[in-house]
């Protein structure tokens, strides 16, 4: 009995010590090798993945996000192939659960700034925007990506205005949308949206004032654009300055601009702006 106890005890102590020593050495080796976490993705279409996950789609989506989070948190630099894998994992996660906030925040945070894949980010954000009509952030991010990364002002204005319609969205969004709408020739649409926003009784006084100013500026742009069209029809060319519209008796005076002393005019394109941001 004593012999067996002694044998077991020495086994426990001996192998226990060996395990501790080996474990500690292994940690150092892996540290030296800079062993990094790798992201494994299988390029399976979303519906097929959905079938495999069955009723456990939600936790399967969470698992994929955890993989992405662990991967991004463990590496200093990721290769283009790594970003492709991240993009695939995020897309698959969205296919399994298109509602999750963390997924679209990862998409916006990593696929645009770090992976330089704004088109893919927009594509994925559109899935979130479609499934989260109560959330203004997905359309806002889409608008931002169109404006900042893709220089597509038409779509930027469309999505900023879309985001502005969502309850609780900052009033800045439709104002931004309206600015891009002027640049992309969708002034009337933006004007209608801003006018409808004034009906909201929950608006604060400062917000109401900002919207009213933007409406006034946009109405001025529309008025001048119509005058320019009349001028072109009459003279067969665009005027060199807005003053020529008064000289030719098309308008009595230029409308007031709440943001500057006068409206800005680009005679080569015929565009009229209410501020200097082009």
């Amino acid at each position: 009995m004593k012999k067996t106890t002694l044998l077991l005890l020495s086994c426990l102590l001996g192998f226990g010590a060996l395990n501790l020593a080996a474990g500690s050495a292994l940690k150092d080796v892996r540290q030296d090798l800079k062993t990094t976490y790798s992201l494994r993705t299988v390029p399976v279409p979303g519906p097929v993945l959905g079938m495999a996950a069955g009723e456990f789609k939600g936790i399967a989506a969470d698992y994929l996000l955890m993989e992405v989070g662990a991967f991004l948190g463990s590496r200093q630099e990721a290769s283009p192939e790594d970003w492709e894998r991240v993009s695939t994992a995020l897309e698959q996660s969205l296919m399994l659960d298109p509602y999750f906030q963390q997924t679209y925040l990862y998409v916006q945070a990593f696929l645009t700034w770090q992976a330089k894949m704004p088109e893919k980010a927009v594509e994925l954000l559109k899935i979130s925007a479609q499934h989260r009509p109560w959330d203004w952030r997905p359309p806002y991010y889409i608008g931002f990506d169109y404006y900042f990364f893709l220089k597509d002002f038409d779509n930027a204005s469309r999505y900023f205005l879309e985001a502005g319609k969502v309850e609780g969205a900052p009033v800045l969004l439709p104002l931004l949308g309206a600015r891009f709408a002027v640049k992309s020739g969708r002034t009337e649409v933006a004007l209608r949206l801003l006018e409808s926003m004034l009906d909201d009784p929950t608006l604060e006084e400062t917000e109401r004032k900002e919207i009213s100013q933007r409406i006034e500026a946009m109405k001025g742009v529309l008025y001048l654009k119509a005058a320019l069209a009349s001028y072109k029809e009459k003279e067969g060319r665009l005027p060199d300055s807005l003053e020529e519209l008064i000289e030719k008796d098309i308008i009595k005076k230029t409308p007031s601009n709440p943001y500057a002393s006068e409206y800005l005019y680009d005679k080569t394109t015929g565009y009229v702006y209410f501020d200097e941001v082009k």
Partner: protein, 269 residues
């Protein structure tokens, strides 16, 4: 009816005494502890992850009870011929089969109830101090609704399993066909939708028609899956709930009727 309930009571008692059930419940509790750790790994809408995990554990535990405990309980009665002891009393095969379903069903309901309470507790603990990270529309009412419909879905799988035990000669075959039925039930709607909208299969009306027929045979279990609805507190249509409940209950009754008819004709070993 009293005779049916007598069998149900015995089946339920027998189930609760089974050590496998204790193992399943312990596994459930362990998974809820994991839920608290996993939820902490997320930064936004962590409540969704907590609810997802909670409801998935309930479903998983229910499926294990049905596939391993339920099918075994029925098959053992037949294999070990203990059914003769029951049928020697003034009980018919119908009393036995329906009673067994009720007993095992009660076991599934109890498991859902116990794990449901534990899931709610784990969600509460996981979200303690981070209540603002719950999805905006989340409500406990939808959470409960998710559990109720999940349990109904489990009862359908149980009824199907009872049917397969009576229709097949070996417990393993019954288990295999039951698992396949469950998988088909979960995915049939998805597959039908993909195939009917895909251009690749447009020229194959036979396949589409076949799938349509299969969809009338196997239950549409995806309809009972309200996990996403519960996790995000998405709006639920009362008419949809009523329709789904009617569909589920009627499916169970049809399954049990066919199972009884087969069992009545079957010669016991």
């Amino acid at each position: 009816m009293t005779k049916t309930f007598l069998v149900a009571k015995i089946a339920f008692k027998e189930g609760t005494r089974n050590r496998a059930l204790h193992g399943i419940i312990s596994l459930g509790i362990l998974l809820f502890a994991v839920n608290i750790i996993v939820t902490a790994m997320f930064s936004w809408e962590m409540g969704k992850v907590a609810v997802d995990m909670g409801l998935s554990v309930i479903s998983l535990a229910g499926l294990i009870i049905i596939f391993f405990l339920g099918i075994n309980s029925l098959s053992n009665d037949l294999e070990r011929r203990t059914i003769y002891l029951i049928l020697s009393r003034p009980l018919t095969k119908r009393h036995y089969l329906v009673g067994k379903f009720f007993g095992l069903g009660l076991l599934v309901i109890t498991s859902s109830l116990v794990l449901g309470v534990l899931a709610a507790v784990s969600v509460k603990i996981a979200m303690y101090g981070s209540e603002s990270f719950m999805p905006a529309g989340f409500s406990w009412a939808t959470f409960c609704l998710g559990i109720i419909y999940q349990t109904l879905s489990l009862l359908i799988v149980l009824a199907l399993s009872v049917l397969w035990v009576t229709a097949t000669s070996h417990p393993f075959t019954a288990l295999l066909v039951s698992v396949i039925s469950y998988l088909v039930g979960q995915n049939l709607e998805n597959v039908t939708s993909i195939i009917s909208t895909s251009k690749v299969f447009a020229g194959n009306p036979f396949l589409i028609k076949t799938l349509e027929w299969i969809s009338w045979i196997f239950p549409n279990l995806a309809a009972f899956d309200l996990k996403t609805t519960a996790a995000y507190g998405l709006p639920v249509d009362a008419a949809y709930l009523a329709l789904t409940a009617a569909y589920g209950i009627s499916y169970i009754i049809v399954c049990l009727t066919i199972a009884t008819a087969i069992f009545n004709r079957r010669e016991l070993p």
